[in-house]
Each structure stands twice: as structure tokens, then as C-alpha cells.
Amino acid sequence: MAIVFIRSVILYALLIFSVRLMGKRQIGELQPSELAVTILISNIATLPIEDSNIPLLTGIIPILTLAALDVIMSWFGVKSRGLRGLTCGKPAVIISGGEIDQKKMRELRFSIDDLASALRAQGVFSINEVQFAVVETTGNVSVCQKKRYQAVTNRDIYVDTEKSYDPPDIVIDQGIIVSTALKRLNLSETWLYGALENEDMDLNDVFLMTASSGGEYYLVRNEE
């Protein structure tokens, strides 16, 4: 039992390392090649855990190989469009100019129900509203609505949007300054302490503080 426990701990650490190595792409939407790697890795990891006759390295080596190959292939994929097309496929346009490409839909084995469901997921409830739709390599459908169905933007109503800031980020997390966020927002610690002084608060009094690069901030006081 102890062997199974130790093996599980080692493989757990290894799996976390592998997923971290493969990067954030792996955690979100999976490309076909990434999906294959993820399924394989999860399958391989269970074998040495279940069967102590199998050397642990027989599990570790394929996991590391697959994770490393995935990273290297995606690196080559960035450099070569052809390779990217080969491993990930290409997005397919199924609605163009408001017209459904039936041939393409048959090719993708994409039913009308699939299309309607994908559109609803994007907040579009009538196919008539769609100007352009693409089935992405991840299987998601991206939709561009016809102009008359699109939401009004600031530009449409001539609202001044010259000044725009990045969204706010957490700069104090339970009394600890998040320096990387401050740096990204181009704010200094002097500004931070100044803001705290304005609120008559100490660093330890802060449960959460968010700030935007424009200097606007939001504070939540520590309850304890």
C-alpha cells in the first residue's frame, strides 16, 4: 500500500509538472493534438499506479516524452503554418455572407442542431442574425452577427474612448503586495502606500485591493 501511495504522489507531481510544461493552452480549449496528448497522459499515469509490477519509470518516460513532444510540436507549429494545419487542422467557415455552406457542414458532419446549439451558446438565437460563422480547430463556433443585430458600441454613439486602461488587477492580496501586478500597471509602491494612507489603513488591514493603471482603486478591509 505504501508503494502505491508513494507512486501516486510521484505521478501526481509529475502530472502537474507536465501540464505546467505544456502551458496554459493545455488547460483551456484543447487543439486535436493536445487532446490526444492529454488523453494518453492520463491513461499512462494510471498504469504504474495500479500495477506495482510495472516500473515507475515506464510511466514517467512516456508522460515526459509526450509532454515534451507536445511543446516542441507546438513550437514548430508557431514557425510553420503547414505543420500547424497538419496537427491542429484549419478553421472552417460554415456561414459566410449570411449563407450557410451546406457542403462544408456535411464535410464536418455538423448538423443544423449542432449549429443552432453552438449559436445559442454565443447568445445568438436566430440563424438569420448571423453574417459569418467559423468552426474553430477546437470545435467551438465563432460568430459574427449581421450589422443590424450587433450591440451598439461607444464608437457608434461617438462616446470619447481615447483614454482606455487595462482592466484592474489585484495589487494587495491579504496584506501582501503583488509587485508583478504593480509593475504591469505602472504603479509604484509609493503610490500604493499613499492610497492606503488616504483611506487611513495599514497594509495588514487590507484583505483585497485592486487598482487600474489609471490609478483607480478598490479596497476591501480585513475583517479580523
Binding site: 505544456m22 506495482s52 509490477n53 510495472i54 516500473p55 518516460i61 516524452t65 509532454a67 511543446v71 516542441i72
Partner: protein
């Protein structure tokens, strides 16, 4: 880029490990096969005491072999050799030469197979 470099390093280390693993199996085989030859010679000449002593050395060497090979080779492959080695001493004791020769051949074949089955040849890969 850091991830790509780490990935290349991992692949390089795995290739090195595989090569080192093969060398290690071959090295360990070279330690155990001569003892089998020696044992065979003693049995051929009818020197049972020397054969018994060689069998003891074989069992000792095998224990070390098994322990170190456990990280490279599936346990069930080693288990078959373990069973055959366990039979050698009783066979020498009861002077069952036919069975003894047969077991020695089995051990030799299994040990040689451990190496050949790890070689990256097309018949092993497929």
C-alpha cells in the same frame, strides 16, 4: 522559449537514459552469464561442491541484478528467472542433471532476452 528548451533537455535526457539503461543491462548480463558458464563446467566435470558454490554466487549476483533491474524491466519478466534460479540448488542436491541443464538454459535464454527485448529494433518497437 523556456518551455521549449526544457522539453529538448527532457527528450535528450530520456534518450541518454535509454542508452544508459541498455548498457546497464548488458553490463549486468556480463556479470551473471559467466557464473552460469562456470556452473555448467562444474556440472559437466561432476564437481558438485564447486557447482554448489557457484550456484550460491549466482543466487547472490541475481539478487543484486533483480534489485537494480527492477527500475528498468517489468517485474513479471524477472519473476520467471527468479523461479528458475530458486530451483538450481535443490537440483544440484538431488543430482537431477537433466532438469538442472534445462533450468540453466532457461535462465540463460531469459537473461539474454532481457537485453534483446530492450533493443530499439523494429521487431521490438512493432
Amino acid at each position: 522559449m523556456k518551455r521549449v528548451i526544457i522539453s529538448w533537455i527532457i527528450l535528450f535526457l530520456i534518450v541518454c537514459y535509454s542508452a544508459a539503461g541498455l548498457y546497464f543491462i548488458s553490463f549486468k548480463n556480463n556479470g551473471i552469464l559467466p557464473i552460469l558458464d562456470e556452473l555448467q563446467v562444474y556440472l559437466d566435470t561432476g564437481d558438485n561442491n564447486a557447482a554448489y558454490e557457484a550456484a550460491q554466487r549466482l543466487a547472490l549476483e541475481w539478487e543484486l541484478y533483480k534489485r537494480s533491474m527492477g527500475i528498468l524491466i517489468r517485474d513479471d519478466k524477472l519473476q520467471s528467472i527468479d523461479t528458475s534460479i530458486a530451483k538450481i540448488n535443490p537440483y544440484i542436491y538431488v543430482k537431477n542433471t537433466d532438469e538442472l541443464y534445462s533450468e540453466l538454459q532457461v535462465i540463460r535464454r531469459y537473461i539474454q532476452n532481457l537485453y534483446s527485448s530492450e533493443l530499439p529494433m523494429w521487431f521490438n518497437i512493432l
